[in-house]
Amino acid sequence: MIQHVLMPKLGQTMEEATVARWLKKEGDPVARGDVLLEITTDKATLEVESYVSGVLRKILAREGETLPVNAVIALVGDPEDALPADLEALRTPAGVAGAPSGAAPQAAQTPATLMAEATTQPAVGKIFASPRARRLAAEEKVNLRLIRGSGPGGRIVEADVRAHLERLRQTRSTPAARALAYERGVDLTTLHAEGRITKAQVEAAAPGAAPGARRVPLSPMRRVIAERMSRSKQQIPHFQISMDVEMRAAVALRTRLNQEGPVRIAFHDMLIKACAKAFAEYPMMNAVWDGDAILYRSEIHIGLAVALEEGLTVPVVRHADRLSLQEIARESARLIERARNKRLTPDEYEGGCFTISNLGMFGVDSFVPIINPGESAILGVGRIADRVIACGDAICIRPLMNLTLSADHRALDGAIAAKFLGRVKALLESPEELLK
């Protein structure tokens, strides 16, 4: 019997995921519990195990493809089972009997999205081509933009696509060059080479190519970061407030704790603790814009931005207000380790109320962070550096650290943000309170 492998729902807010890598290939035997593939959600890379045993008959979701939850991504069955006729229809949750109805609206958009990606054009403007020509071009991976139509009004007809294919057949190129030419809209027939046309030549001939430039396709994580940050910057009315914190006591406390205890305390742990305490004292801060209402949350989960080679991720220290500084330190160290290995589970990155982003270790004095969508505020943390300041009527040198808070003005106002940030500053300047 042919059984469906569905895109799993691995978190409350997960609506879709991208296929990162197949670990099994078509024809491989599969046992229940075997890891079939890795998927990337907007937060992490996760493994998908098979719930059934048999042979992996058909992979329906290609690597890099994004599909909604409950879409059929593969078929497992006996080698002699006949495959269903309309494989494409299976890829949308609507095509699966008994799929949760909640997934359906998402499904309706999916084929269009896939289609749009499959026919990405290098330039704008509508192409007039007959349905038959479009069908053939899609099958043969021909970029219609390169073809001059001979039909009425310049419409591209089947014969034009066939003529182009014939010219391509007479052009010797590597498969990679051909694929890239399709993607970037480069006409291989215009390139000349001693032997085969290579990918590098296509790269150089691509529209907008700069000498020596390298074009890297988006990783799933990069795509998610781009989408979320664009959405945040475009939709959330950010405002910023900034304060300098005098860190002499905090530095001393940290040094002492790290000499005494087995748990290594990082500055970000002190920040998490301070922010969690301030959140508990100003519950109004734990607000998030929800379209036609403001949602006030009671639980305090603090996210910490972790830089990775290909981007960043934000693991969440849950119930940070209930944890001691040492517990926070242990938890954040564990989460950072898992984040760097891309092994965070949804429970470890979802549901944050607030994000702390620390660039002090890179020598940054101060910066203005962008809010992580789903939250209402983010704290940008600068380096701790000795500064000359006024102490009463004298001049003295103290270690200062800049904190810049970006907040969503739909949900929060300047006064509450200022009180909150002032409290964080006070806690760090009298850090013994962090041990309570």
């Binding site: 007959s130 349905p131 038959r132 479009r134 001979s150 039909g151 419409r155 007809v157 089947e158």
Partner: protein, 325 residues
């Protein structure tokens, strides 16, 4: 194989079925002693007598109503409406009774009748005697429509229509009665709903029926000299419609020309275009094209009549334009 006229093929079908089955009888205006306005019942009165070849008054509603009733009582009437234009007078009996009774009575009755009529222009007999109204009946679930272009099809389809249990509108064409064609002697039938390829081709599909199927064939044979290989499909029936054959051909050629002698608005071929759109859109290499009559009452003047309906040259021009761009 002997060549006979279209009218003879119809007469032969009637005669053979009346000999075969005593329930089959013929009625209509001038079908008896006169032998039918276009001669299709000639000789039947002499062979079968006034009981089975009944001349009726000029009363279309009564002719069709009596046929529906007789069919429900177990007879197999073949009624004739002299001109399709006069179907207007018999619409209630045919559409509301003949087409519906099998369904209204939950299958406890059937209406095994054939309603012969003829349509089309070509004789200069003006707007009330030249119409092609088959599309009206395409819109009526419960009836079948045969609309043959050749003597062979006329005989084989009429026999099937008489033997079937559903009401069949059998549409002849006034300009075809005197066309000859090969027809084997003796009994044969053609199933309703099977189109036929009159001419295979790869460049364009031309779909038509009745007299226009012959006009289309003539046009496409001439186009072969210009290097255009058109595939000509004669539908033979409009209900059931052999859409599979049309789709298969369109998938091969990528182009479709629909030819009909009826006016283009609400034409029966519009339905074919919609089905192709639904099932073979991705195979189309150009917009589908119709060659139909102008949306005017058919004029009496022979010159204007010819201008109002498709002819060989206009079909050729449309196919050429579609293939050559």
């Amino acid at each position: 194989m002997p060549e006979i006229y279209y009218w003879e093929a119809i007469r032969d079908a009637l005669r053979e079925e009346m000999r075969r089955d005593p329930r089959v009888f013929v009625m209509g205006e001038d079908v008896g002693i006169y032998g039918g306005a276009y001669g299709a019942t000639r000789g039947l009165y002499e062979e079968f007598g006034p009981e089975r070849v009944r001349d009726t008054p000029i009363s279309e509603n009564t002719i069709v109503g009596a046929a529906v009733g007789a069919a429900m009582m177990g007879m197999r009437p073949v009624a004739e409406i002299m001109y399709m234009d006069f179907m207007t007078l018999a619409m209630d009996q045919f559409v509301n009774q003949g087409a519906k009774n099998r369904y209204m009575f939950g299958g406890k009755t059937t209406v095994p009748m054939v309603l012969r009529t003829e349509g089309g222009a070509g004789r200069g007999i003006a707007a009330q005697h030249s119409q092609s109204l088959e599309a009206w009946f395409v819109h009526v679930p419960g009836v079948l429509i045969a609309i043959p272009s050749t003597p062979y099809d006329a005989k084989g389809l009429l026999k099937t229509a008489i033997r079937g249990d559903d009401p069949v509108l059998f549409v002849e064409h006034k300009m075809l009665y005197n066309k000859k064609g090969e027809v084997p002697e003796g009994d044969y039938t053609i199933p309703l709903g099977q189109a036929v390829i009159r001419r295979p081709g790869k460049d364009v599909t031309v779909v038509s029926y009745s007299r226009m199927a012959l006009v289309s064939l003539e046009a496409c044979n001439a186009l072969a000299a210009e290097g255009i290989e058109a595939e000509v499909i004669d539908l033979r029936c409009l209900k059931p419609l052999d859409i599979e054959m049309v789709l298969a051909s369109v998938k091969k050629t990528g182009r479709l020309v629909l030819v009909s002698e009826a006016c283009s608005e609400g034409n029966a071929v519009n339905e074919i275009a919609m089905r192709v759109n639904e099932h073979a859109f991705d195979y189309l290499d150009a917009p589908m094209v119709r060659v139909c009559a102008a949306n005017v009452p058919i004029p009496m003047s022979p010159v204007l009549e010819d201008a109002a309906i498709p002819n060989k040259e206009r079909v050729m021009a449309a196919v050429r334009q579609l293939v050559r761009g």
